[in-house]
Symmetry: C2
Subunit: 232 residues, 2 copies
Amino acid sequence: MTTDAAPLHAGFLVFPGVMALDLVGPLAVLSRVPGCRAHVVWKQAGPVTAACGLGLVADAGFRDCPPLDVLCVPGGPGVDDLLDDGDVLAFVRATAARARWVTSVCTGSLLLGAAGLLSGRRAACHWMSRDLLRAFGAEPVAERVVIDGNIVSGGGVTAGIDFGLRLAALIAGDDVAKAIQLAIEYQPEPPFDAGTPEGAGPVIAARVESDMADRQRHRAARVAAAAERQGP
Amino acid sequence: MTTDAAPLHAGFLVFPGVMALDLVGPLAVLSRVPGCRAHVVWKQAGPVTAACGLGLVADAGFRDCPPLDVLCVPGGPGVDDLLDDGDVLAFVRATAARARWVTSVCTGSLLLGAAGLLSGRRAACHWMSRDLLRAFGAEPVAERVVIDGNIVSGGGVTAGIDFGLRLAALIAGDDVAKAIQLAIEYQPEPPFDAGTPEGAGPVIAARVESDMADRQRHRAARVAAAAERQGP
């Protein structure tokens, strides 16, 4: 158990096509936990381009990253290409084997699944990809943050902030999490009730699903192939 | 007026010590507006280090950035050093003079103020620095998103998501904003009522203010000096 006195090494996977907000939301929260040392990790240190076009800089490579107490895997369109990437899967598995907390935001849970870490586990995911978790033996859960043992997963994109605060509370206690919530002024006022398909209604939901249809087909195929490689 | 057909050039100022979430929240939203071309701008293209340690890559410099329809200035501890930076103030003023929307998140409004853009205007800011806006002749407003003419400002850090969705609705209509809200699954569930000093309570608020006391003193002095340079 990490205390306030010991450093808490939290590693955030970054990769081409990551959803920047999936990563930056929890990073903004967890980097404020006392003693936290945040690492942004990819195959090697250096810049990668997020899905929105923003360049993010990995400060550690898989081989020079210190042992992590927290592994956080964000999602994004680029996650599909990681599902059969041996280097990435090996890093995730080896890190998860010794981390205290193994976590994901959004479609990052698909990578945890592909790494074999979600078999029989409850997990969250972006609403559009949630059911794909079943291919990895996971139980998809339509909740903002799902805690199953040492696996903590957040829903789509912005859920990373709720996820980060929940995890901060687990790690350092409610008062630390509350102080962080105040520091980042997290008193959300969504302008619409449109954050779920039910709230947004069938017309808006169909529009979003239509815009994403090609990617979702591609993703479903990649997930099926990754699950096939895992075997029964 | 930018239509769906014309490109919408949205520029996000990035700088050393920026609060990454101030920038990435609205970028995640606005980059999804149809026709949006997002630019991440600093004195020159290249990496800068955000307050949390994350490296962010500017993709345009002040001199090679295209004319912007939207200027967005995020906040963060690094904003203090910009308040007397002639290059930055000149870029902000020149861009604001022709942009359709001049915007800020968190303490980014202090830079708009130092650039002389908030005189007689209502504006939002991070709760801890909100009153400093008065030095620039602005009226600080304790709201999540403040719209005064073509100036749109968001409150602290996470307010950037609410801000982004409100601005997306102004630019492209409610249905576009709702679709974006659904795509980023923005159905927040803060774990605590701690996003404002009132909600968090006096003990937590005092803790956060104490942690930030040195920075706030430094900031107040920089703001006073910047306002002094503006003259009466």
